[in-house]
Subunit: 246 residues, 2 copies
């Protein structure tokens, strides 16, 4: 069942083109799922008490249009299903007329916060959140690190990057990914599809290298491929298909 | 006249101690004043059309308690007055019982965005927002750069740090200021009073040095003094009085 939350996009939620930042978009969607889970075993509070946490492993975003400053939107989420080890959750945003702005598929694991290891799906938990058991495993894009990238920037995890689970806020990765692209490019292009996979957790104080490979795929379209590394470890992979904004 | 807006503090608004981040706090307060100004000459939209912008020159924060994740709060603002060149605005947050959480005084100038220079106060504008003319000039703390600091970190303005006025978001300065303090300290202390002065605008791509001088003033209290520099230029000065959190 879809769960909805109303938002009015604020100026500080937006980049300088007045479009919703991808960082804020993720945070909004996480708020909606937190609101849906509030009185279940899956809520941040209940999970914390049991020493468990949700860890996202992959997102797939399809963007028709990013909402603009002061626009009213409806964000939604739905538990899409689960299997033995993975839970799936969909998200979206609509304008007030019900037109789709964006949709998101995502894949999650349950994590033992003390032992730092994956847990199998908890049947009581998924029952409480109304997720169906899936016979078929949903497929996400297989992202692979490239042999070579064009350029990189260095980023360090800051105190305010940490969330209440003591990890780097998920949305913050977009800060590091998007910032490797030139300002002029970002002001003239919008994302159409984004695949983002998390492999390892970036820790407080870590210096991460955010690598970029940029390819123009047609006159109006581009592909940016991203790898975030800490030392020799691959932490996250991302691909963004862009089109020229109107 | 005070203008109120209701908020529920979200997890992603908070640091790892589950207290509201100072960066988010500023953004919330800016949203409240934007909402109050919405249909006046002082709104972001109207200002933009006239090629003008509000530029804050100093903030003074008094913090009794920072709200926590999922807490409902009322944020308020009020045009406190104006004189020939400066406008003053107060802000605050209260819990639902009306207990004060924090109050803020601030000082603003009107800025010509094309000519990059200060404008005198516009009588029509201040009339529209109900600000009284002040006979006496409100005094803010006189912050001065120190002869020497203890340590510094380097920060670069990123794409998502830019606001819709193409400047670095005001709240972002707190990111650079707070991050110079150790994580353990931040997890065990809360700000009581903050004075923050802006001298020059940090630009996209600038590498800024955020300097820190730390002084223990008593067993329970500390003072941190901050200077943000770009090259030889002083961009912002800040002092934060801290107390041990309970």
């Amino acid at each position: 069942m879809k769960f909805y939350k109303d938002y009015r996009v604020q100026y500080d939620d937006c980049d300088e083109t007045k479009r919703l930042k991808l960082t804020t978009m993720i945070n909004m969607l996480m708020e909606v799922s937190e609101a849906q889970l509030a009185n279940t075993l899956g809520s941040a509070k209940a999970m914390n008490e049991q020493g468990r946490g949700w860890v996202v492993t992959q997102y797939e975003f399809h963007v028709k249009r990013l909402p603009k400053a002061l626009e009213a939107v409806k964000a939604w989420t739905e538990a899409a299903g689960y299997n033995r080890f993975l839970c799936y959750r969909d998200f979206g945003m609509e304008d007030l007329e019900g037109n789709e702005l964006l949709t998101v598929h995502s894949q999650w694991v349950l994590f033992d916060l003390k032992l730092r290891k994956m847990l199998p799906t908890d049947p009581d938990l998924v029952k409480g959140i109304g997720a169906p058991k899936l016979a078929k495993v949903p497929r996400f894009k297989r992202l692979r690190p490239l042999e070579a990238y064009d350029s990189s920037h260095v980023y360090r995890v800051r105190y305010y990057d940490l969330d209440t689970n003591h990890h780097m806020n998920n949305g913050r990765y977009f800060d590091w990914i998007v910032d490797t692209l030139p300002r002029d490019f970002l002001n003239q292009h919008v994302p159409v599809r984004i695949d983002l996979r998390f492999d390892k957790e970036v820790q407080y104080g870590d210096e991460a290298q955010s690598w970029l490979k940029f390819t123009r795929t047609s006159q109006e379209e581009c592909l940016s491929q991203h790898l975030i590394k800490v030392g020799e470890d691959d932490m996250a992979l991302c691909e963004i298909a862009w089109r020229k904004s109107l």
